[in-house]
């Protein structure tokens, strides 16, 4: 039962590839498989179930639908159905549509596996598959030479974080002798648990595009728009936040876990908000906002209110998918993603309205559900401290700023353009459904909404204060006023910032450059050096030593000669004999000594260089000799 949500999309992917020639079937097949996944996920969530499969001695792959995973397991296919329908319609001209759809279905399957995982091994498998699928999806347009490069960049960055999860899994096994979350929860709170916490935080930060890994989301923009929509809303990026929510109860036992997550989240929320505000590319601005929004979730999680984080994740999934699909329509219609050239409001009024709903969700305008969840996050932040709360309030203000800016620049009133490719009705419907979900979440404000969230996520929401609500409303109002003022002065695109600063901010505060200079270039340099042959490094060292010694000795000789000459001159010609004697001594002894030292060192260097023959059999011989010696030593030592 629990496996079915995973199996359905996988089967769909296989089926799509087998009917690849019948293009009319592709969309329906995938959507049907995702609907199957959705249905079975809903059933599993309603009943709650667990199951496991023994892989080998002591290694069980466990899956479970309980607690927060009940929400997530339904959310993933729900968003995916809409996004994939949109993809099947908008990419219908694409020659590689079967591959795209199959990969999307596989992506969803991997994410479902990650969601239902009840142990680190299953989580790792899902985690890796999600990463691999996202790599293939970002690089979908591989004939364009840039796409594979960006895909590689995104993959390597997240992959670096993945190592954290490997460490966490290893530490878990070392600590309790199994990979199960349940065993870890029952296990002792020692340094192993701290290692697990560190690993999970690194992995989650990388996947959820938190600082300092955030820039990979920009690279991910090389993928088709539906891919971005899925990646940002309910799969790849959500995986990090979800993993933290899932494991918070266990890991919060580590004293620094909460503060670390809060700090990461808050700094990303603030930095990402500025990035989103400064960006002039629609998709990249949305990417910045994704980092910022996940930062807010992390704040809630770190403060201990997973329910608030999960609620925010859910609301975000709907409106972010909506916004990305809207961006896709804009790209098709306007032919560009440059915010300076869009303003499609008059040309595509329906889409503009739907995009507006999404932007309102992003801005957390009451009475939308997104405002409710933002409110919960704010309350959670204030529970954790006044400064954190204030930071979140500022981040909220930023979100109002960038959301309003995006909507006005992308879908504000503008000249009526000849739209080359209008959106297909299926695409508009997809947008409408997502907008409907966003609006429907408003019901959370009704009495009983809080209880519903608590019941679904199995955790408590923080008690909000009425002045916190006032702060939120005030920030929305202030934000709109600021945007309006900027718009009046025609400064909205630049945000009133000088272009150099704006460029710096928009490019993630220069983090990519920093990374390139601090990590990538040195690494490539070192590798190049190594590739040139370790000999050159060692040689250089040896030669430098020999050379410097020779140099020093020559200097010394020169000095001695001058000194001796002066003495000789000073004493006068009467002592020429003595002087000659001393010069002979100088030549014969001092020089010889100094030169001998130099030559000796050079000889040593040459000799040591000779061992670097570059030929395998010499190295192997040394290896055998060394092993024999080691063996004998070990035998005697015993």
């Amino acid at each position: 039962m629990v496996w079915l949500p995973v199996v359905f999309p996988l089967a769909g992917a296989a089926l799509v590839l087998s009917v690849r020639r019948r293009r009319a079937w592709l969309g329906p097949v995938v959507v049907a498989s995702l609907l199957g996944s959705l249905g079975t996920a809903a059933l599993a969530a309603a009943s709650g179930a667990r199951s496991s499969w023994s892989w080998g001695a002591g290694i069980d792959l466990g899956v479970e639908v309980a607690g927060v995973s009940r929400v997530m397991v339904v959310l993933v296919p729900l968003v995916a159905v809409v996004v994939v329908s949109f993809a099947a319609s908008s990419m219908r001209e694409d020659e590689a549509l079967p591959r795209l759809l199959a990969l999307l279905a596989g992506f969803v399957a991997a994410m479902e596996l990650l969601v239902v995982a009840a142990d680190f091994l299953t989580l790792l498998i899902g985690w890796e598959l999600v990463g691999a699928a996202s790599w293939a999806l970002i690089g979908h347009d591989w004939r364009n030479a840039q796409a594979p490069m960006f895909a590689k960049e995104a993959f390597v960055t997240t992959r670096f974080g993945d190592l954290g999860l490997y460490v966490a899994a290893g530490a878990t096994f070392a600590s309790v002798g199994s990979f199960q979350f349940a065993d870890l929860a029952a296990g002792p709170n020692d340094r192993w648990l701290a290692i697990v916490a560190g690993g999970v935080v690194v992995a989650a930060a990388a996947k959820s595009a938190q600082l300092p890994f955030s820039p990979w989301l920009f690279s991910a923009m090389a993928g088709p728009t539906p891919v971005s929509a899925l990646l940002h809303s309910a799969t790849m990026v959500a995986a990090g936040g979800y993993a933290l929510i899932r494991l918070e109860l266990i890991l919060s036992a580590v004293s620094w876990f909460g503060p670390l997550v809060v700090g990461l989240g808050l700094s990303t929320a603030l930095a990402g908000g500025v990035v989103a505000f400064a960006q002039s590319d629609l998709k990249r601005a949305l990417a910045g906002s994704t980092s910022a929004q996940y930062g807010l979730m992390l704040v809630a999680i770190g403060a201990g209110f997973t329910a608030a984080g999960m609620a925010q994740l859910t609301a975000h999934a709907f409106f972010k998918a909506l916004l990305f699909l809207g961006a896709g329509v804009a790209l098709h219609g306007g032919g560009t993603l440059d915010l300076a050239k869009l303003r499609l409001g008059s040309s595509l009024p329906t889409v503009a309205l739907l995009f507006g709903v999404g932007a309102a969700g992003l801005a957390a305008v009451p009475p939308l559900g997104a405002a409710f969840t933002k409110e919960a996050v704010l309350a959670a932040a204030f529970e954790s401290g006044v400064w954190v709360g204030s930071g979140v309030a500022v981040a909220g203000l930023l979100s109002v700023l960038y959301a309003a800016r995006l909507h006005i620049l992308a879908y504000g009133r503008g000249p009526v353009l000849e739209i080359e490719v209008g959106p297909h009705p299926v695409e508009v419907w997809a947008l409408a459904i997502l907008a409907a979900f966003t609006l429907a979440l408003s019901a959370l404000w009704l009495p009983g909404g809080k209880e519903l969230v608590s019941e679904l996520t199995g955790a408590e929401l923080p008690e909000g204060q009425s002045w916190e609500l006032a702060v939120s409303v005030l920030s929305v109002v202030v934000g709109f006023v600021v945007v309006w003022l900027l718009w009046r002065r025609n400064l909205l695109l630049s945000g009133g910032l000088p272009s150099r600063i704006r460029g710096f901010l928009a490019n993630w505060w220069g983090i990519p450059d920093l990374t390139r200079r601090a990590v990538v270039d040195p690494l490539i340099n070192v590798s190049n050096r190594l590739a040139e042959g370790d000999g050159s490094v060692i040689d250089a060292l040896v030669r430098a030593i020999a050379g410097s010694v020779v140099g020093v000795s020559q200097r010394l000789r020169h000095l001695v000669e001058i000194l001796v000459d002066r003495v000789v001159d000073g004493v006068g010609s009467g002592t020429i004999l003595t002087a000659r004697g001393s010069q002979k001594f100088d030549d014969g002894t001092v020089d010889a000594t100094v030169e001998a030292i130099g030559a000796g060192i050079r000889f040593g260097g040459d000799q040591s260089r000779r061992s670097q023959t570059g030929m395998a059999h010499h190295y192997y011989t040394l290896l055998v000799g060394g092993s024999v010696v080691l063996f004998i030593v070990a035998a005697i030592w015993r």
Binding site: T613, G614, H617
Partner: protein, 101 residues
């Protein structure tokens, strides 16, 4: 037939393999030396299984893993030799001394 005798045969095979791997110039002959070493390893593994484990099949499993290693060594070895020959026109180790210091 005692365990010691089996291990002696294994040691002899391994020693000859070491000699071959170190003394031959041709890549393919070096691979033969490696195979001979693995051959000795198989004898030792099965010998230990036969003499010391009381019939625990995991000992035989080890031998199967060694055989898999042998197949892997063969496949990758030949692929590398082919590639090196194509790119560097080298078929003996002396022609491949890029790492020389």
């Amino acid at each position: 037939m005692t365990l010691e005798a089996v291990l002696l045969v294994s040691a002899a095979l391994f020693g000859i393999g070491v000699y071959g791997a170190l003394s031959q110039q041709s890549f393919v002959m070096i691979m033969m030396g490696l195979e001979l070493m693995l051959n000795g390893a198989i004898v030792a593994a099965v010998g230990f299984w036969w003499g010391t484990t009381g019939g625990n099949p995991e000992g035989q499993l080890l031998a199967i893993v060694v055989m898999a290693v042998m197949a892997i060594e063969g496949a990758i070895g030949f692929a590398l030799v082919t590639n090196v020959y194509r790119v560097r026109k080298a078929d003996i180790t002396e022609k491949l001394r890029k790492l020389r210091g």
